[in-house]
């Protein structure tokens, strides 16, 4: 049997809170209307079911044998790199209206290669320019997609 998991416990608690939110929010919508079920019908049952199953997950987890100390702490420390990557991604999206898609992709690529992968700036610039030009040619020029543009027009 798998040992008790802090990950399962924390995710179940988070989901129970989320289920509670869905239930409370759904209660604001009408449950039944003259024509039949209202907009609150399904969300209300979904919220209740999410709460119920989250509690089941908590119970099942607590019934398992206790985990050995140390656990899997490494899982969370490696998560910081992923989080940095995600923040860089969101930062690039934030800059879209000002710098456009192509320039943001170039910057994101440089960040990932230089800061995350610790490779040389030259290889980063080369890859970033290649990707930027390639994406522009394929999606903007060839397919005519309208992607966010910088004031410079690309």
């Amino acid at each position: 049997m798998e040992p008790r998991s802090i990950k399962d416990l924390s995710s179940a608690i988070a989901l129970a809170v989320f289920g509670l939110y869905v239930t409370i929010e759904a209660a604001r919508f009408s449950y039944l209307t003259e024509d039949g079920p209202g907009p609150g019908f399904l969300p209300l049952w979904l919220g209740i079911a999410i709460c119920g199953l989250s509690l089941c997950l908590i119970v099942v987890n607590q019934l398992r044998p206790a985990a050995k100390p140390l656990g899997k702490q490494r899982d969370w420390s490696t998560g910081s790199r992923a989080l940095a990557g995600w923040l860089a991604f969101m930062g690039a999206v934030l800059l879209f209206p000002f710098l456009g898609f192509t320039l943001c992709l170039v910057l994101l690529t440089v960040f990932l290669i230089v800061l995350m992968e610790r490779r040389s700036i030259w290889s980063a610039v080369l890859v970033a320019l290649g990707l930027g030009i390639g994406f522009h040619l394929i999606f903007v020029v060839a397919l005519g997609l309208s992607l966010p543009k910088s004031p410079l027009g690309f």
């Binding site: 990950k7 399962d8 995710s11 989901l15 869905v22 929010e25 919508f29 009408s30 039944l32 209307t33 024509d35 039949g36 079920p37 209202g38 907009p39 399904l42 969300p43 979904l46 919220g47 079911a49 999410i50 199953l53 989250s54 089941c56 997950l57 099942v60 899982d75 490696t78 998560g79 790199r81 992923a82 940095a84 990557g85 995600w86 991604f89 969101m90 999206v93 879209f96 209206p97 898609f101 992709l105 994101l108 690529t109 990932l112 290669i113 995350m116 992968e117 610790r118 490779r119 890859v127 970033a128 990707l131 994406f135 394929i138 999606f139 397919l143 997609l145 309208s146 992607l147 966010p148």
Partner: protein, 509 residues
Amino acid sequence: MKGKPELDALYNLLLGFSVALSPANLFWCFVGVFLGTIVGILPGLGPPATIAMLLPLTFKLDHTTAIIMLAGIYYGAKYGGSTTSILLNVPGESASVVTCLDGYQMARQGRAGAALGIAAISSFIAGTVGVLGLMLVAPPLARFALKFAPPEYFALMALGLAMVVFLAGKSMLKALLALLVGLWFATVGTDLFSAQSRFTFGRFELLDGIDFIVASIGIFAVGEVLANLETRGGTELFKISGRLKSLLPTLEEIKACRFAFVNGSLVGFIIGVLPGAGSTISSFISYGLEKAVSKHPEKFGTGVIEGVAAPEGANNSDTCGSLVPLLTLGIPGSNTTAILLAALILWGFRPGPLLIQDNPTLFWGLVASMYIGNVMLLILNLPLVPLFAQILRVPYYVLYPAILGVSIVGAYSVSSSLFDVWMLGFFGLLGYGMRKLDFPAAPLVLGLVLGDGMERALRQSLMMSQGDLSILVTRPLSVTMLLLTLVIILMPLLRTVKQWRLKTAGEEA
């Protein structure tokens, strides 16, 4: 003159081939399937947008030629859709989401070529079976589809949701929770019955709901990139095999996919006939069915070739199925067929029961061209497999930003809105979190796909019966599907009881 029905079909098919094999039709058929393949591979420009853009150009073409080309784009896109799913975990179009589950895992194990190859072969077989279905059983099947009222649609959606049993992974509890969250995501937006906005957090962009393709690209592709960013130098993303032999599926693998070919072809065609059911459902159901009958169900999701063959077959056969209500009843079942309907009406045709009788050249020319188009696609796609597989040789530090770029383009082009790209980031983080917390992602996507249709069908059913739930179990088709759903849901429970009994018996002995 009326002869035997089978002779009529043969005569008509010969007429169709005489139309489809004309040099002009062959050329435009090739243009259609080629464009379709490209559209399928590249996210950002789906078949509906491509067909809509090209529609004005077809006014100068002969109408039969034009419909041959437009249909070629439609089914060609289904062929191409698997490529990015397998290579980059980015679904090229919505029906290819299921292909990510095993296709991408095969790619990681150095079997990208085999996965792409089996996708092409399965698409060819299912596409051909689908055309046969369109040719032989279109009118009766279209009449059958008309028997589907909201209770039957609800039962079909419930059957689709029951597939969660086969997507569960280690924990059924977690899979159910993921499914419920997916169903909740589907409720976000404006309620179609009352026009009330639900869970929009004051954002007008959410009034239209959450786009399924944005969510799937985020969960699968961005989530995967984030997971691989955890270690510097990346995890060993792909094993690359240099041998050409391993770039294509082996004979044993093709043999192993026999049932998957049949399953994908039939499930895809039947579900395709039902207006509004959608090819995503058919690919999920065929995947679930394949896993249910497999000798090694526990391996699904780890890179099983049947897990690619079944959904890929289904989403191609589905294309032919969706043409049945369009051509025989004038009912479009999807965005793409709605545009094809508009095209037919613009050209002066009246899609409906008399279309085949009044315009045999158009209908049979299209049917014959689809046989030819499927062969063209196989010839076009198989030689490209080794070339596509080479993409995986690209170093991971080039691949990651490229995947993120493709994901952004795919999400942004859904409605040319930056908000969709923010949502992509949100779903990427969610996908990564689910991975870390061992929650399966596929049930969430399943819930998101089916949630809207299921709620609509349930509420319409209850409106029909003035709130009486028995409407769902008093109609033969609906009760049959609901019983099947119940059996599927109870399967893991029965398996557990059986294992417990065996264990108890063993201990007693």
